[in-house]
Symmetry: C2
Subunit: 214 residues, 2 copies
DNA sequence: TTAACATTGCGAAAATTTTCACAGCAAATA
DNA sequence: TATTTGCTGTGAAAATTTTCGCAATGTTAA
C-alpha cells in the first residue's frame, strides 16, 4: 500500500468524526456527496480519500456507516491502547485534560507534568501530575509515544528535549515556538496566536472559503 | 496583485513570529536559509513566499529583519485596530483570553459571551463577559468581524448563527463540530481531539517529518 | 426481462504547490 | 581594477493534490 498523505489522514479522521456524530440517524448507508457536504469538500475528494482506506462502497447503497467507521479506525487508530503525556498544566493543558477525560478508550492522557509543586502529586481530570524532572524517565518507562506540549514559550524547548530523551515519537505543540527535534519525531504546531492572526486576515477579505481542515 | 494562497499567508505569519522572536540578535539582516531553518522549510520556499509581500532583500545582506517584519505586517495586519469576540468561557476560552491579554495592540478580544450567569457581567483577563443572547447585537454594534468559538459541540451551531447574524466575517472554531456558515464567512477549524488523533497516528510511523504548520 | 437511474472506483487531466537552477548583483578579496 | 563569493528573484520543471469524466454496477420501475 502506498503511503497516505498527511492531508488525507486528516480528512479521514474528520470523516470518522462526522460519521460518529451522524451515526444515530436512521439510514445505515451514506453517499460520498452527503459526507462531502458535511465536511465541506467535493464528492470526488471524499471518494478519492476513501479509496485509500480499502473499504469499498456500493453504487446503490453508498458506504455503510458502521463499516466505514471501522475501516478508517483500522487504518488510523493504534493497534493497542496508547498512553499520552501532557506537559504544562496551565489553562490549555487543563482544557485538554478535561476534553479528553473518559472520551476515548484507546487514547488516554495518563501522565501530566508541571514545575509548580502545587499541581504535582494531584490528580486533575483523572490524570496524575508529576514534576517535570521526572518526565523523561516516566515517558521511557511507560513507552509513551505521543506528547502534548502546553508550556510557556520559554520552557518549550527544554521540555521538548526531555520528551525526546524519553523516546517520544510525536508532539502536539501548543507553545508559540518552533521546536527543534530529530528528523524522525513528528511535530504538529497549533499556535493559537497565529491562528487568530490568520483568521483576522481572512476576515478582512471579500472571498473567504476554506479548503483545509484542522 | 495576485491573490495570495492560504498556505502562504500562514507561512508569512509564521516568519513574522520567528523574526520577532529573533529580533534581539545582533545582526540586522537575515538570509532565506536562516529563516528556512527556523521555520523548517526550504530556502526556496521562503524566497517564494517573500516575493509575494513585495519587499525585496539584497543578495549581500539578505533581508532586513525590521523592514521584513513591517512588510509582512502591512500585508497581513488589518489597517486599524480590530476587536474580536469570544464565545464560550470554559477552559479553552479562558486560556485564549489569558494568552491574548495585552499581547497585541492591534488585536484585542473585547467581548466574551457565555450562558452561565456566574460569568456574565464579570471581567476576565481584561475582557468583559456578556450573556450569549446579546451576542448578535454587540457584534453588530461594534462592527466585530472575527470570532473565536469555544463552546461545547451542542451549542456550536446556534452560537455560530448568532455570530453570522451579527455580521461576523471569520470564525476560529475550537468546537469539535463542523459549522454551517454562508460561503463568504471564513472558518478555521481547530478540533483538539482530531489533532491528538492525527499526532497519535504519525507517532506510530517510521517516517515523521512535517511539511505544514499550524 | 429490460430500461432508466444514481452512484462508485479510478484513469487521466487540471490545478496548485514546491523545488530546481541560474542570471544578475553587491560586497569582499586579491 | 578584476575576480571570487554567496546571495536574491524568478522562469521553468517537478511533485503533489484535486477535479473531471466515464465505464461498471446494483437497484428500482416498467
Amino acid at each position: 500500500m502506498n503511503l497516505i498523505s498527511e492531508k488525507t489522514i486528516e480528512r479521514l479522521i474528520l470523516y470518522r468524526g462526522l460519521l460518529l456524530q451522524a451515526n444515530h440517524e436512521n439510514e445505515s448507508g451514506i453517499y460520498s456527496h452527503q459526507l462531502a457536504r458535511m465536511a465541506g469538500f467535493t464528492p470526488a475528494q471524499v471518494r478519492r480519500d476513501l479509496m485509500q482506506v480499502g473499504y469499498t462502497g456500493s453504487p446503490a447503497r453508498g458506504y455503510d456507516k458502521a463499516k466505514l467507521i471501522q475501516s478508517i479506525s483500522a487504518l488510523v487508530d493504534p493497534a493497542e491502547k496508547r498512553e499520552i503525556a501532557l506537559a504544562g498544566i496551565g489553562s490549555i493543558g487543563r482544557a485538554i485534560l478535561a476534553y479528553f477525560h473518559g472520551r476515548s478508550s484507546l487514547l488516554e492522557i495518563t501522565a501530566a507534568f508541571d514545575t509548580d509543586p502545587e499541581k504535582t502529586g494531584r490528580v486533575i481530570h483523572g490524570c496524575r501530575c508529576h514534576p517535570v524532572d521526572r518526565l523523561a524517565d516516566i515517558v521511557r518507562e511507560r513507552g509513551i509515544r505521543t506528547g502534548i506540549l502546553c508550556v510557556p514559550a520559554g520552557a518549550a524547548q527544554s521540555v521538548t528535549d526531555a520528551l525526546v530523551e524519553g523516546g517520544i515519537r510525536g508532539i502536539l505543540n501548543y507553545a508559540p515556538t518552533r521546536l527543534i527535534v530529530p528528523p524522525d519525531v513528528y511535530v504538529e504546531n497549533r499556535d493559537m496566536i497565529m491562528a487568530v492572526e490568520k483568521v483576522v486576515y481572512f476576515s478582512g477579505l471579500k472571498t473567504g472559503q476554506r479548503k483545509e481542515n484542522g
